[in-house]
């Protein structure tokens, strides 16, 4: 066996089957983050509410989904729920598992962001006559997003790679497709390096997006520093 097969490496680098896997990985990540943000936002609001039962509910959810491995959650969703008559397809099970799991982590990130906004901001908003929903939507959340973005960036980056766990329920994403192709010619290193390059491209893509978002939500602070300079 050759130590490194350049021909094989370049062939796999543009292999449509692997590219398809990269698209699946990207799709799973985007959908899981979008779903996770919605559920996570709700959870963090429950967690910060004044109703004891809602707080307990959110705490219980976060406790369970952060406290158990995603792999176990996926197996339960995919092969346990059907025994109770609830049957999801592979794609649905994978998405559901990722969203439920991600939501638990994002809920805590969002809660941290909200708590990071000075309480004076909401007092001022209330004094101006905004109700609690308006205060949250127009005053607290826009400021919280700025605090949330760096941690959210970590989450997205991690999630891009975590999606590979869904292969346990036969989801064919980037890493599983890589493993399947390895069986063809046993070019183990070549294929894993190709997969690593794809993952790097995807995480770099997110880096660019994250910088854009940070710039947008940092506008207020940027203009202050400029006016201070004058």
């Amino acid at each position: 066996m050759k130590a490194w097969d350049w021909g094989g490496f370049f062939d796999y680098l543009v292999n449509p089957y692997l590219l398809q896997g990269a698209v699946v990985t990207l799709g799973l990540t985007v959908a899981a983050i979008a779903g996770g943000l919605v559920v996570g936002c709700l959870l963090s609001l429950l967690r910060l509410s004044n109703y004891k039962w809602l707080v307990l509910l959110a705490k219980g959810y976060i406790w369970i989904f952060r406290g158990t491995p995603l792999l176990v959650q996926l197996i339960i969703i995919y092969t346990g729920l059907p025994q109770l008559g609830i049957k999801f397809t592979v794609m649905e099970s994978a998405l559901l598992g990722l969203v439920l799991n991600e939501a638990a982590y994002l809920a805590e990130i969002i809660r941290g962001g909200i708590l990071g906004v000075s309480p004076g901001q909401s007092s001022a908003a209330r004094a101006l006559g905004l109700n609690s929903l308006q205060t949250m939507l127009y005053v607290v959340l826009p400021q919280a997003i700025r605090i949330i973005i760096p941690a959210l960036g970590n989450s997205v980056n991690g999630l891009l790679k975590t999606t590979s766990v869904t292969s346990v329920i036969s989801m064919e994403e980037l890493l599983r497709k890589t493993q399947i192709l390895i069986q063809e010619k046993f070019l183990v290193l070549e294929l894993f390096v190709v997969a690593a390059i794809y993952y790097l491209l995807l995480t770099s893509l997110w880096d660019v997006i994250q910088r854009r978002i940070e710039a947008r939500y940092g506008r207020a602070y940027k203009s202050i520093s400029i006016s201070e300079g004058h």
Binding site: I75, V90, E172, Q183
Partner: protein, 281 residues
């Protein structure tokens, strides 16, 4: 003159000492390894990889101990080579790369013999296996021939011979103008069967003896068996070690223990002497 006499005496002493220590080692070990340490991944040990998700061939019992025909066989080979058997439990997909990388001496997981694999490794055929199709109890989909799998969702372990056979079946279906098989690959057979149990897949592909074992346990029916009969092998990297293992097999054929082991698991025993089965040129 005197000097050389002293030298001679010293040498005799050393030889004597050496002989004594050797004798002491021999009594402690009761035998000397039949394979040099340089031919092994770990001196004095026969390291084998196995994926224990295939009862009754290889599985883990409730106490965590490895059991099954291939474990009995591996232990016997190690014993006859005067080595300590050691097993690494790992997914099949990691086995060939791991062997190449010198992580273990033998793949002892019931690897099917194929020409491509025999180009990469020293393979010793010792058993024959065919592929079975397991379905839910009662065979609700009335699957009785491979064509019945057209358009069905079928689970299989990733990277094994069974997966290749299933993909071949799928190609045969589409060539005949039938609906393709929806092939789902899992990390191991246990998860593939769990998916069948949950109704996520409609059939599962495995080797005959495992299909029979699951049917015996009463959870699944074996709808089709005896597909693609193929020799099963041990796979090694080191030719010297492979020859030593062939020697053990030949001894086991002579004393009847090989035939007895195969019969115990309902497997066909090789009548011809066992040898290294390289690629046909």
């Amino acid at each position: 003159m005197k000097k050389s006499l002293v030298n001679l005496n010293l040498r005799t002493c050393l030889t004597l000492l050496g002989a004594l220590s050797l004798a002491a080692a021999a009594t402690a070990q009761t035998c000397t390894p039949k394979v040099a340490a340089s031919e092994l991944v770990k001196p004095g040990t026969l390291v084998m990889s196995t994926n224990p998700t295939l009862p009754p061939m290889q599985f883990v019992d409730s106490s965590g101990a490895l059991k099954g025909m291939r474990i009995t066989l591996g232990d016997e080979i190690a014993k006859r080579l005067c080595l300590k058997p050691e097993y690494i439990k790992i997914e099949f997909s990691a086995m060939v790369p791991g062997l190449q990388a010198g992580r273990w001496d033998i793949i002892n997981t019931g690897i099917f013999w194929t020409e491509e694999r025999a180009k990469l490794m020293q393979m010793i055929q010792y058993e024959a296996q065919a592929v079975s199709i397991s379905v839910a109890k009662g065979n609700p989909l009335k699957i009785s021939k491979p064509e019945d799998l057209a358009g069905r969702t079928v689970g299989v372990e990733l990277g094994g011979f069974e997966e290749r056979m299933l993909k071949q079946l799928d190609q045969a279906m589409t060539a005949k103008g039938l609906k393709p098989i929806n092939v789902r690959t899992f990390d191991n057979f246990a998860t593939a069967y769990q998916a069948l149990r949950a109704g996520q897949t409609e059939a599962s592909v495995t080797i005959d003896s495992t299909g029979a074992e699951y049917a015996k346990r009463g959870e699944f029916d074996r709808a089709i068996s005896g597909l693609f009969p193929t020799p099963v092998a041990l796979a090694l990297k080191n030719p010297t070690l492979a020859n030593a293992v062939v020697g053990v097999f030949n001894d086991m054929q002579k004393d009847g223990s090989y035939a007895k082991l195969m019969a115990e698991y309902g497997l066909l025993a090789n009548k011809d002497p066992i040898k290294i089965n390289g690629p046909t040129k």
